[in-house]
Symmetry: D2
Subunit: 338 residues, 4 copies
Amino acid sequence: MFVLGRLLSGGACKRGVSLLRTRVAAPEVKTSVKRHSSGPGQRMDIRGIYPPIATPFTQKELVDYHKLEENLNKYSKIPFRGFVVQGSNGEYAYLTSEERVEVVRRVRQAVPKDKLVIAGSGCESSMATMQMSDQMAQAGVDAVLVVTPCFYRGRMDSRALIHHYTQVADACPVPVILYNVPGNTSLDLPVEAVVTLSQHPNIVGLKDSGGDITRIALIIHKTQNQDFQVLAGSAGFLLAAYSVGAVGGICALANILGQQVCQLEQLCVSGQWEKAKALQCRLIEPNAAVTRKFGIAALKQAMDWFGYHGGNCRSPLCPLTESETKQLQSDFTSNGWL
Amino acid sequence: MFVLGRLLSGGACKRGVSLLRTRVAAPEVKTSVKRHSSGPGQRMDIRGIYPPIATPFTQKELVDYHKLEENLNKYSKIPFRGFVVQGSNGEYAYLTSEERVEVVRRVRQAVPKDKLVIAGSGCESSMATMQMSDQMAQAGVDAVLVVTPCFYRGRMDSRALIHHYTQVADACPVPVILYNVPGNTSLDLPVEAVVTLSQHPNIVGLKDSGGDITRIALIIHKTQNQDFQVLAGSAGFLLAAYSVGAVGGICALANILGQQVCQLEQLCVSGQWEKAKALQCRLIEPNAAVTRKFGIAALKQAMDWFGYHGGNCRSPLCPLTESETKQLQSDFTSNGWL
Amino acid sequence: MFVLGRLLSGGACKRGVSLLRTRVAAPEVKTSVKRHSSGPGQRMDIRGIYPPIATPFTQKELVDYHKLEENLNKYSKIPFRGFVVQGSNGEYAYLTSEERVEVVRRVRQAVPKDKLVIAGSGCESSMATMQMSDQMAQAGVDAVLVVTPCFYRGRMDSRALIHHYTQVADACPVPVILYNVPGNTSLDLPVEAVVTLSQHPNIVGLKDSGGDITRIALIIHKTQNQDFQVLAGSAGFLLAAYSVGAVGGICALANILGQQVCQLEQLCVSGQWEKAKALQCRLIEPNAAVTRKFGIAALKQAMDWFGYHGGNCRSPLCPLTESETKQLQSDFTSNGWL
Amino acid sequence: MFVLGRLLSGGACKRGVSLLRTRVAAPEVKTSVKRHSSGPGQRMDIRGIYPPIATPFTQKELVDYHKLEENLNKYSKIPFRGFVVQGSNGEYAYLTSEERVEVVRRVRQAVPKDKLVIAGSGCESSMATMQMSDQMAQAGVDAVLVVTPCFYRGRMDSRALIHHYTQVADACPVPVILYNVPGNTSLDLPVEAVVTLSQHPNIVGLKDSGGDITRIALIIHKTQNQDFQVLAGSAGFLLAAYSVGAVGGICALANILGQQVCQLEQLCVSGQWEKAKALQCRLIEPNAAVTRKFGIAALKQAMDWFGYHGGNCRSPLCPLTESETKQLQSDFTSNGWL
């Protein structure tokens, strides 16, 4: 059985208390991103905007930790709530287990203590996911983000996924965030599974990258008594997600237009919907270009344009073709960002 | 070539002028559903909520015009903008050409003059669609709703669809509304096709039933200079659609909970987003139950429960099983509607 | 209830008896395409190759009956078992009800009495399908081919489809052939539904265009006691279909390379598998080009090249682009057909 | 650049020479499974039937090497060409890198020298795949089977996949077999990529589990000058695959009904198509039950019934429910296997 004390003590969870916060007590319109804890029994507050950071590589495709840290330094001026390490955009599927942990460790060291570090710890087997989650907790992350296992997707029904996440959350020293990304997994974590899992005290929320706003609204509705937090998995539907009750976003585009994504967050939480709408609309094409349309190679190319270290991907991800690069550029220029 | 005068004159378009209105001049927050025209050269204003009305049948599966009129009478107390006849929920695919026109004619006669009547006139061929659109215009409708032809979906690319809709809109005596309903057609009208078609003076908007809110926002963004109006095709994402700039909805659920859907519209257009969110969330499961989950048989069953004439569908649509009926009921009761 | 006598008498079924034949008594390796009847109580024999004929149109998109007859005259030299009128390649979805019947009537008049004429009579509603089937029977067809209704595909489960086909087959004066074409309908007629329907005395077989050979083999296996005949819906998998027990094919490519498709049939039924394989392989790319890849416009373009009347399609089907035409040509030349 | 000598020498490839064989010289009808080499410059002959062996686990979900060896001993009486270790059915996605190599090493030790051992070495990144392939070669395998990387499937086009497989095949000390399994990867290796890759001297063939027989025939046709060998990835379409030129199969069902799958092979290669058809048909439902329908848990359950060690899967794969177990049993009994 899960023991709450576990969450609140132990080396891996030193910052645990300070991150706890009651969502209930939050003012309806936030005007500041400051968060603080307010006592035991409440879940970690994960509200806000996070870039799912890219992993820079050397020409030989080794992790370039120096460039990674330089990127993080540049991000420190942006009012992000924290950083997600090894979301899909971090090419985590291409990293070894050792690299996954090491990248997380370096990020935790590089970013200020008041920024959350959330690490993608999902693997295909429950056993490996538990081990990885534990290692990442030891590396100092505040929470882990656990993608749905998907290779045997034909059998990944509610029963299997509830079992998987329960095992993982029971064992994990830090809070768990569910991660639904059907574009990569060809699998949707069923709503009923999310609702069941939202009752687990160590599962604090969901990152949903599918973009089905009806589904997102339904999940928020059906978990409303659980202090369960939903984060939009893309800047493309961030405003819509806020409109139905999401509390933040983990947005690839924030690697490039971080300030603007945070501004969109502020417009949403402060109820300035018309301005939010205008800004949201200008972010859709750039966002699509660096995600669904051209993928991580485009994300990294655009990072280069905007002063970050993007660079090449690990193979088999290929560089953009010339024509793709032009389209990418056009998706930024036509919306006034380049 | 399209002649604007055609839109503004002629027997079929008697009410045309009174429906024209500039969207630009609209106050940002509407507090009343009253609309009025403001001059030539502007497109018909289609803002508001419409039920895509169901078609009641006798036990022998003939159209029951009497019950149809009784339903319309009951709907007259609800602040709908108008009625959509032969959307997907009207079982139009099961009606003969003659029935399609006759149902439209009866509805036009039965509803007050200040209510818009929009008729689904889409057929597979351009030729048939033009004929049907013309007949429906003769029957007095204010606009036609033209579904994407889909049987040869492998060839229904932007080129084909732009050609189709241009032909239809050129010939049609009343304004045309595009209709994207991938759940039925297994086809998405490409965004680029919508953007091109939005420049046609006789194409006034789009009903999008797909629920991809990023797509809807992008369409609104890219047609913002065209006075092009987007209607949500489902109550499931109505709030989200308003949040990104949609101006109304054609919602199956409005056949049952019409007052509530109109209330949601009012909360959205008056900027009461928190209340809107609470109401929206309670509508998602009932809406899913009468659409995607159990289909038109469920819509009609629920209509019976709420005092309308639902009744049986045309074969091959089957009545609900006992178990489905129970789930349907539960989706209404658990949200406080039954 | 279905009455067998109905099948064997009545004006619409004059040739019924002569077409009946026991499949059981057939020699395992046929060396001739001659068929004959062998008594009452047996189902109509539908073995062999059929082109699902294209519908020529005039420049104004009206049915060109003269060209249609000229095509049929040219086909008379090819050992087809018969002709399918208004399969998907006949653009039936673009014809009015009246045109559908008239085309069928003309074909029946034009082709020799010993050729089967099978007409696509499927509509979305059961009622319309029954009427259309009846009209086509009156026009003299030997059997009707009934596509799965699909617009409300979310509800077209086994229950609905069994009900639909049973109603239609009960009422139909001529034998019914099921028609599964997921490429157009986005729906697969469930195997269990086929097995149930195979027991209906007036349902004689299935045209399966999906190309899932495991499914086809399973259907043949599970209906082996029903004298139920399966026809491949495409030349692309004709050999494979014969290898698991199919008895013929309705193949778009037979509109162009009719002699060759019939030759492939002969190689298969006479057990010359190596030769069959060589021929089969050369047909795959031309077949894909005129079906899945470029559709009916390509079929008609290639018909023109091979001396038939192809011509334009009804709108919204567009002519091929120049680049598509070149690829089409290449798919024929690279396999030695042009 | 690839050096053929590399294939024919070096520690990892000791049995390389003895496995080389010209496919051209093979008698059209094999009556024995014996194979031998016939000189340099030819590709490894991989014809025949292989079970993609399951991985037994202890109750604690550790690899049970003892049970694995007992299974292999039982399989030694069956005329398999060899064994595939860590196909999808081996739960390879749930094994650590170390376990993957160790399982392969144990299998190589346990099975007779004249049996091929083919190991699944695919990982998401090219780098990891090269390392894994090398380690497996060191462990003594005859060839590696490389699944398409798929997590970033939106970017896994021909360009990326050709690059990936070329890198891997250039570096790999043993021959490479391409592995297409869209049921797990939601990705189809494009035919054009297969055709290009078939020209690589160290890529000897393809395992295709998709079951699209037209695609399989086309690949065989377009690679006919390359001595490129295609293996069916499932017993469900084994006969059909042979009918179009496949040379063997890697069939999950061979873990259970190995003798029968080998018998089907013999009937196909000796041209006894009618008997083959009868046997093939009885294998479809059991095969579907242990693959697509109920997955690896069913495969292992049936292994238990047939005297092998199946046992539990690694989590999150769940045991069958009672109802699933009954259906599984029925799929075997109704075809006369239990």
